[in-house]
Symmetry: C2
Subunit: 383 residues, 2 copies
């Protein structure tokens, strides 16, 4: 087996799939800074700054706002492991792959899933949430804000949060794909806990999962009847390491360099300004949508206002072979886009405009490449 | 709050604590390679090569040899979550912090701990293991090969592995600190499953946990009566993503850049040659030991042959203030060493010579710095 160094064997692929997204040079530079100790005074300061910036991006004042030492799904597991106890009834909106994954997690940790099933590509109506919660005694309501498998953005978040609280349930949110690309207003929407990933709109390599929990969620954790079923994700211990000015008690060795990268990714977003970042996503999404529709693509999500700006889940033009064309784009254009997931495998593409991948010139190049393979294949819709 | 870039706010600290260790430039370079997709053909090839090199370093042919997407402790949780079922009796050798952590993990996942308690600083005798296993029906025996809290290296690994198998128990090993610094012969010692970390002798930043499971362990997993209690660490699903030539089914987004770094770390070790690497650790350990003893330090581990070459856990000379001197070394010499853990907090130092931190010139500089602060404080033992 050949043992070439990494830089001799990987290419300059442009990332327009469902994540990871392109990573800015300064983030890669931060990532490759000299490794220092996880209890080093310089590192503790970087931790504090990272938490502070995470709070800004999440629009929250929650003290417990930290990156979990694993990829996005580890944040999901952290919330379930800490906030769901065996026997707890938990309402879970299932309108795509990730709602299904949450239900699986809840079951594994002994919770009873009260499924709120919604057709894939649609979002949940507050009325459906109310009905499920009225059926009684749910300790939590779990919802995916931006469902990456269908491209749907959940509206009415504040209203749904209020419903959860009226029924004495925690409002728990998956913000993996939305954070850093569209508004995620944790405090204003009444979100009790949320998690995200670094490799989507934060434009940091995969490997960390930012989470936030408010005091209501922390109270649920502190008053558990049973120990947290995970040691690695036990927030009662992780808290003692992360809390600013606290004991800084060693739990596990923090992924130092990944936290450096997250620090820089957040710094860039706040330097540009959240509103400007969201406007950039909206504008480029509109351009991509116009281009795709002119080529004969149609959106899985029917309501235009419920489509994600950062992830375009689309059916291909009639007769196009998605697998073949996708391979061709990767091989001939060094362009990565994503295939369909779950129900849409083999039928759809998922085209990402996330974070640093969401730039006007990148959208133009992306559309040019997609047009070229579609036209080669079919002569194009208008040919 | 100041928002300086990382390179403007962290120093060039020399790492001689219990990990992370110094990271070679080429590993940092690999870490900062262009991020590519977790299903990209170039990345799949890097995954295959990484597995192949991990097998060499672990001296195993186990197909299931992969890095888990979390720090070292996530490997511990992975083994427990997959191989311990509720009600299983599991013998755990407790001779330091990490044996205690394993017992905690086993309990959280519903196992019954059969504790084999050994004085801290000592290792377990095969006779004690036999006695515990004879008490009946243990499904597994868990052991820390290199206990980082005391500096003890467990001998007689092969004999202990045989005892486990005679009693129909899986032999499960923590090789976090030993791997890449001293022999870890997975197949020859009859280890059924083991885990390690990247930030010790592999000289890669913290963030991944290499694990290996043989067919006996995989059979136990496949024949579970209950689902794995973790989704994130469920090896039945992770296997479908990692298996060479397999379905490459998406589970979670792999930490792409960290795997690049691990690839380079392993490549460097195999280029130098495992035997040469171990000899370097032995030689530098002897030099450090001679230097420390001449300054009045004494080892926690009494038997010289059971001391770790890569981590020297030592009591300070009479009257020395460990916290004060350690802070001084960090502030004045940009040198990190570790404090005592658990029973030895405030009483001992843990000085690491791990991987890239284990170089003749680094040992000389380290001893020079330690000598200078000790002599400042006390006039030194021979002054």
């Amino acid at each position: 087996m050949e043992r070439k160094a990494i830089h001799d064997q990987i290419g300059q692929v442009r990332l327009h799939g469902p994540g990871p997204s392109d990573v800015p040079d300064s983030v890669l530079e931060a990532l490759s800074s000299k490794t220092i100790g996880h209890l080093d005074p310089d590192f503790l300061r970087v931790m504090d700054q990272t938490q502070e910036m995470l709070r800004e991006v999440l629009r929250t004042k929650n003290r417990m706002t930290i990156p979990i030492s694993g990829t996005g799904s580890s944040g999901m597991e952290t919330l379930v492991a800490n906030l769901v106890e065996p026997g707890d009834r938990v309402a879970v909106v299932r309108n795509g792959v990730f709602g299904g994954r949450i239900a699986d997690e809840v079951s594994r940790f002994g919770g009873q899933v009260v499924a709120i099933n919604v057709e894939w590509g649609r979002t949940v109506e507050p009325e459906q949430v109310k009905e499920a919660l009225s059926s009684g005694d749910c300790r939590a309501l779990f919802l995916v804000h931006a469902e990456t498998s269908t491209g749907a953005l959940q509206p009415q978040m504040k209203e749904i949060g209020q419903l959860a609280h009226e029924h004495d349930a925690l409002f728990l949110v998956d913000a993996v794909t939305s954070l850093g690309g569209t508004e995620v207003k944790v405090d204003e929407w009444g979100i009790d806990a949320a998690y995200s990933g670094t490799q989507k709109c934060l434009s940091v390599p995969p490997g960390l999962s930012p989470i936030t929990l408010n005091e209501r969620a922390m109270d649920k954790l502190r008053n558990r009847r049973t120990p947290v079923q995970s040691w690695y994700f036990d927030l009662t211990m992780i808290e003692e390491y992360w809390n600013e000015g606290g004991a800084r008690k060693y739990h596990h060795t923090a992924p130092v360099n990944m936290i450096f990268a997250l620090h820089e990714g957040l710094r860039l977003i706040l330097e540009e300004g959240l509103d400007a970042v969201f406007e950039r996503h909206r504008k480029n999404a509109a351009a991509l949508q116009a281009g795709l529709e002119s080529l004969g693509f149609t959106y899985i999500v029917e309501k235009a206002e419920e489509r994600l700006p950062m992830l375009h889940a689309v059916f291909l033009p009639e007769g196009a072979d998605e697998g073949k064309l996708r391979k061709q784009l990767r091989a001939e254009c060094s362009l990565e886009i994503g295939g369909g997931l779950g129900d849409f495998a083999g039928k759809a593409w998922r085209i990402g405009l996330m974070g640093h991948s969401c730039r006007e010139e990148k959208v133009e190049a992306l559309l040019r490449d997609i047009r070229s393979v579609i036209v080669q294949e079919h002569g194009g819709p208008s040919a």
